[in-house]
Amino acid sequence: MHVENEVIFRDAAAKALLDPQLRANFRRAMDGLISKRLAQFPDPRDLQDLRDLSTAIRSRSLLNLPELLEQFEAKATENGIQVHWAETCEEANELILGILRSKGARTLVKGKSMVSEEMHLNDFLERHGIEALESDLGEYIIQLDGETPSHIIMPAIHKNKDQIARQFSQKIKDAKYTEDVDELTAMARKVLRQKFLEADAGLSGVNFAVAETGTLCLVENEGNGRMSTHVPPLHIAVMGLEKVVARLEEVAPLYAILTRSATGQAVSTYFNLITAPRGAGEMDGPQEVHLVILDNGRSRIYADPQLRATLRCIRCGACMNHCPVYTRVGGHAYEAVYPGPIGKILTPQMEGVGVRHDLIHGSSLCGACAEVCPVEIPIPEILVRLRREATHEDAGSNVAGKGTGRTAIEDWTWRIWALVLKRPALYRVAIWFATRFGKALPAGAPLIRNWTRSRTKPVPAHRSLQERMRAEGGRHD
């Protein structure tokens, strides 16, 4: 079934599974994150109440999204923030390039931003002669190796300290080899502080945008976000259009559940609320603040009442930390900007359910993700819905690539399946054959072959339960 479509994730995952170092790195890291999160929620009632509240806040924000975006834009503009809109990643990239060029900026220092990863902004800027340097330590580490993030919160989680030690000693000027984490951190600090000092512009993402005040909220531990947004004379922020929340009061519980769900911290080191560029009498801060609001398929997701829940996401990464698939294969196997369970529902909706059929079937639907999601996104339900969309062209649906994952073989499989199972007489015959001859089925037969890679062949019972109940004369009425 769908072998041709399923190669991307399946092959990459199979390769990852053969890397014991990678598996150990992820397992250790995820175990740590799971127990740290759990320690932050000692009272199940508090947790459920906070999840319910957060879900309600995000649902409400989405319900009023166009009005909130307009209110936010008006307020931010009044504060002196310049707001731009982009339909696509290409448009967003061009907008940012235009802003940088208008200021003659040649170097950009970046705080962590998944939307900028979505835009492949770094590559784009490099092609246009602008240096884009990642300053989040994890992002910096992977940028040195030309890699992409393997986790949305901890981008370098696939690497262990020996690997980073080797990499630093080879790629940072005058760096000696050390496995001491404090020394490694100090090396990065030295390089990056110089970059902050010299950079012409800084770029950041946005965790929450507050409509009533026109404020951009940034959550971080390292201070690179504050450096990127406050040291250079120009600050450009990028965000998906779903990030806006009506009131600052509503941000407080979202922030509380975000850090606890993400890294098991009650609070991050910094919560940075940016409302305006450098004002009259201020000695520092950026002279200009720009915000690019990106759609890139979000308004299409928004249009579907069920799929809209995807946009509630606050990017905590708890779904990946708890996912039995992600834990084993790591983030790169997904070949997508957003890995893990949230990536499995977000990527196909952005890129098309047919082409990323591999991702929507790369789940056992175990539900561990939905169980921990701070905004209760029903990820397994949405996966099933997207499986539906991939194989059908339902009227009224506007899902990207609907119906393009359909294959004749799968169609026929389910048609025959239904044909047999809705006719008890046919089912009885099939079961009769399975109980008598199931044993004789070769272990190398299609599909069974996939099962028997790591298991013995399933052997049907000699007599089915129904046959035995008939023999027993059980009550059938």
């Binding site: 789940s363 056992s364 199972l421």
Partner: protein, 243 residues
């Protein structure tokens, strides 16, 4: 509660008929008359999960029709019970027979759920001392909402020691078609589950669900482990039946 319906599920029908028989006997032992309607096939979950909803609905409709009386419907599977109880209402949303289906769904119980929450059964252990471990089926817990009913029943057995898995709530890797669509990942998950079970020192792994059992059993057999798996119904019945 004098009468109940019993729904075998296709996996129990074909692979674990002993578990089905045991479930029926446990109910009878608790003083309940069990009605086992003819014409049972499958709850429709495989097609539903793959997006083939019309096909799933066609099959589901024939199954709902087998249970016309207002009696509880008992399943020896958390996953299939979850399908019928939680997902049928979604599957039939907007269909002309939605009301009847919803009424049916409200009557669905997983076996141990019914034994504990409704019948409040008390079990007497007649078996030899044994150490077992427990795998909680994802759908039984997260879809259907089991709250430890099977473990509570096992806990009533005085000669049974329950050694928990290190990762009791982690998926065993079955996931229906997932096991053949993503055999490498599924296999890795199954191997980890099998290793976890082996390290408990138990001689038996129990679960509510045929899918998980089939998967873990196949994996254990492939690595020639002495550890066996058993459906919880069969285990409970074997240990409590008067001989």
């Amino acid at each position: 509660m004098n009468e109940v319906y019993f729904y075998a599920t296709c996996l129990v029908d074909l692979f674990y008929p002993d578990a089905g028989m045991a479930g029926i006997q446990l109910l009878r032992q608790a003083g309940v008359q069990v009605i086992f309607p003819e014409g049972q096939t499958c709850c429709g979950q495989p097609a539903f999960n793959c997006g083939y909803w019309e096909e799933a609905r066609d099959v589901a409709r024939t199954q709902v029709a087998l249970f016309p009386r207002d009696l509880p419907v008992i399943l020896p599977s958390g996953s299939c019970a979850g399908m019928m109880k939680i997902h049928y209402p979604e599957l039939f949303h907007g269909e002309p027979d939605e009301t009847q289906v919803r009424a049916f769904s409200a009557r669905v119980y997983e076996l141990t759920q019914f034994l504990v929450d409704v019948l409040d059964v008390k079990l007497e252990d007649l078996g030899e001392p044994v150490k077992v471990t427990w795998h909680s089926s994802c759908h039984a817990v997260r879809d259907l909402g089991l709250k430890g009913e099977p473990q509570a029943l096992i806990g009533q057995l005085s000669n049974v020691e329950l050694a928990p898995l290190a990762r009791e709530h982690e998926c065993c890797g079955f996931g229906g078609t997932f096991s053949v669509r993503q055999p490498e990942i599924s296999g890795a998950m199954s191997c980890d589950k099998a290793a976890d079970a082996e390290s408990t020192g138990a001689s038996l792994l129990l679960s509510t669900d045929g899918g998980c059992l089939l998967n873990v059993n196949g994996t254990l057999e492939a690595k020639r482990s002495p550890l066996r798996v058993q459906h919880v119904a069969e285990f409970l019945w074997e240990r409590t039946r008067a001989r």
